[in-house]
Amino acid sequence: MSQGQRPLPDPTPETRHFWEGTRAGELRLQRCDDCRHAYFPPRPFCPKCASRKVSIFNASGRATLYSYVIHHRPAPGFTPPYAIAVVELAEGPRMMTNIIDCPQTPEALVLDMALKVAFERQTDDITLPMFKPAGA
């Protein structure tokens, strides 16, 4: 069984839209209005061309499994073994996440497998974006 509590994010003014999005069931990314670069994690300017003209948009929630480890030691709020994954979003950016509705084994976690976002409520304020197999 898991001991302790999973650490949760403290949103900042620059990231609040993202966490408000997950709470509303939306995966919000940003795109540069000048160079069209889509990026993550959030910041109020484009990390490619430094333009401050950026827009928030809702990502499709489709992703593929880019890489991961399966942690076998205890961590607060987790029951080992559990996978810590990095997924590649259909829009391009990558993000760290957990894979749910899937055995936490190398056999089940196949690189490049299709995934879709799942919004996992943690508290009234925080909902974490996780991913599950697209067919699940």
Binding site: P9, T12, V69, H71, H72, R73, M95, N98
Partner: protein, 381 residues
């Protein structure tokens, strides 16, 4: 002789290595510093520059009784000391100071005091977008890119295990190494699972220790008792504080940029390198390092290691102290890679590479977050 050139004129590790419960973190810094100053025949009044990580230059200056005119508190993980060497060389060449002391000390095992591995600050991007998903220290982060590398190049876990096996061969030659008994690929693959695909023997040790260097202008190098080791070239770079945001999981941009800069500055080619240190916090790092520094093509480093090119008797002796996997790893290992390069250039390493003239020490900071590279020679440039 090059007009502007800097040399290592003093180098030493802590008196003990591995388990040192009798010293706190600042004590380990001081023990190493006193040993390096003795090696250089210097007293505190002779030092006018301080660079350190883990502790601040203020703490160190006060503790050792030094009044510096130049300080560098660069603290970006285990390669900080490579970057201190790079910055100190520039400072000496610019006349900002004459004699620089660079120190490291860490009570990684005994935890007497100090901590150099703070969690990402509350509200930071790492704390918001990585920590909630169960990362807990380097074994859960540094390791994440490897499965992508293995799939991209068709490299096997057995090949990665071989890195640890060969480094143990080097460690067997080093009386101060923490682990000296031979191991096999099966031993590595059957050791306790930490974070799949990483088993215990693919992860670095956790020990106590420290090291220090003294740098001065090369035209003063002959005034010191020890054989000088010249700095031919240096490089540095950074990428992302979050491993999930690394551009390419099969290659480190920071490694590539830092390595290229150091090789270009030194004016050397890969075939000139007689000895190589690549910071090995985990078994995949020498593979990434060999490729990103340009010793191997992408995807070929594991075979290169498997063919014993970096093993005792091989053409490119790598991590000859046993590395972070078998020698020691206090937390910020870069200092020990530098120390082994200096020993090899002085001709006094336990596993001495006969006739070695050029040594490269390549460090990593954070989880592929930062990098520093130093090219040393025992021949005056």
């Amino acid at each position: 002789m090059k007009k502007k050139s800097v040399a290592v004129v003093g180098a030493a590790e802590t008196t003990e290595m591995g388990s040192i419960p009798g010293l706190s973190q600042i004590g380990l810094h001081a023990d190493a510093a006193l040993n390096a100053m003795a090696d250089a025949g210097l007293k505190p009044a002779d030092i006018d520059g301080i660079a350190t990580a883990g502790e601040t230059p203020v703490t160190l200056a006060h503790y050792l009784g030094i009044t510096p005119t130049w300080v560098d508190a660069t603290a970006i993980g285990g390669c900080s000391f490579m970057i201190h060497v790079r910055n100190a060389a520039a400072a000496i060449n610019e006349g900002l100071c004459r004699t620089v002391l660079i120190t490291h000390g860490e009570s990684g095992k005994s935890r007497v005091s100090g901590s150099t591995r703070p969690n990402p600050a509350r509200g930071s991007l790492g704390a918001q977008f990585e920590v909630p998903f169960g990362v807990l220290g380097p074994p859960t982060m540094f390791t994440i890119p490897l499965l992508r590398y293995l799939k991209t190049y068709g490299v096997t876990q057995e090949q990665v295990a071989m890195v640890a096996v060969i480094q143990r061969e080097w460690a067997a030659k080093n009386p101060r190494a923490s682990f000296k008994d031979p191991i096999t690929v099966d031993d590595v693959l059957n050791s306790r699972m930490i974070a799949y695909p990483f088993r215990l023997l693919m992860c670095c040790l956790v020990t106590d220790g420290g090291g220090a260097l003294v740098l001065a202008s090369a035209n003063r190098a002959r005034d010191f008792p020890a054989k000088p080791v010249y700095i031919l070239g240096t490089g540095a770079s950074v990428e992302s504080p979050m491993v999930s945001q690394m551009e390419d999981f099969t290659s480190s941009r920071a490694f590539r940029v830092s390595g290229r800069k150091a090789f270009a500055e030194a004016g050397i080619e890969h075939k000139n390198v007689d000895h190589l240190m690549i910071y090995d916090a985990f078994a995949h790092l020498p593979i990434y390092g060999l490729e990103d520094l340009g010793f191997c093509k992408p995807g070929e480093a594991a075979s290169f290691i498997g063919e014993r090119r970096t093993a005792p008797g091989g053409k490119l002796p790598l991590n000859t102290n046993g590395g972070g996997l078998s020698y020691m790893h206090s937390g910020m290992y870069g200092m020990y890679a530098l120390q082994e390069s200096v020993r090899q250039m002085r001709g006094i390493a336990p596993a001495q590479v006969p006739g070695a003239k050029i040594s490269v020490a390549h460090g990593v900071g954070g989880m592929f977050a930062a990098s520093g590279t130093i090219v040393f020679s025992n021949e005056q440039p």
